[in-house]
Amino acid sequence: MRYFDDLQVGDRIELGTHLFTAEDIKTFASQYDPQPFHMDEAAAARSHFGALCASGWHTIAAWMRLRVLYAQREDAERLARGEVLAKLGPSPGFRELKWLRPVYAGDTITYASEVAEKRVTRSRPGWGIIFARNTGTNQRGELVMSFIGSGFVERRPGAT
């Protein structure tokens, strides 16, 4: 991770893609969101969705996975260059999450993240909060989900 002070509003990263198979959709749904349109093709066909689609929480969990893997790749490259890594803290929350279109079985979603806002925190010296607009786009180029996430990122030592 780069330090809070080195991240700029507008910085955008492409995180990669995730294929939502029917099996994965049902596995996630059976554990956490067992509504019929996420569990069963026939029931989903009768619903307003028209076909089996992923739980919205599943579509974000896949984003999170790719976000973490991106950070791990980036950290490995920084270490290889002999750079110091900034620590990444937990997230205080998110806002303005929009599930804009269903994610159907067989859809491949491409995820991205763009720094939207930076905020220095008084309560946590040495840390700042980065707000990022995170998006998922399907293979037809349609935006399927968007939210403003946040997370604590370590400040450069000595930064004020």
């Binding site: 969101d33 509504q35 929480w57 974000i60 896949a62 999170m64």
Partner: protein, 151 residues
Amino acid sequence: MPKFYFEDFAPGWTAEYGPRRVSREEMIGFAAQYDPQPMHLDEEAARHTMLGGLGASGWHTCAVMMRMIADGLLLDTASMGAPGIDEVRWLKPVRPGDSLTVRGSVVGTRASQSKPDRGFVTFHWEVFNDRGDKVMTLVVPQMLMRRNGAA
């Protein structure tokens, strides 16, 4: 057949669902698959983070809450999903073995202007651990069918 439709909800409605225990195994399993950060995976590594010990991925807490609301309410409701989430706040870490409960209230309701078969009920959900700490809050407009269908 669903028991509850859009018309059954109004400000003043409240409910509590759960408890659901979140085991260490489930917490680490979710994190390994969807949020593989050391603070969610490894006790020793987590001790040196802001969480001060192993804590669940916030997305896992959301998913556990979703399951309690699905079992308690939505599977008996003419739910059409949610178009989004207005806001989530992760207030305190969820620890291995915590039993979570969720309390909800209705903030407001509005019939869809463009589609007469549905309406939106905005719920405010609060998740508590078994020590009484509020660990998460969430505001969500839930889309529900109207009782008379395309009335």
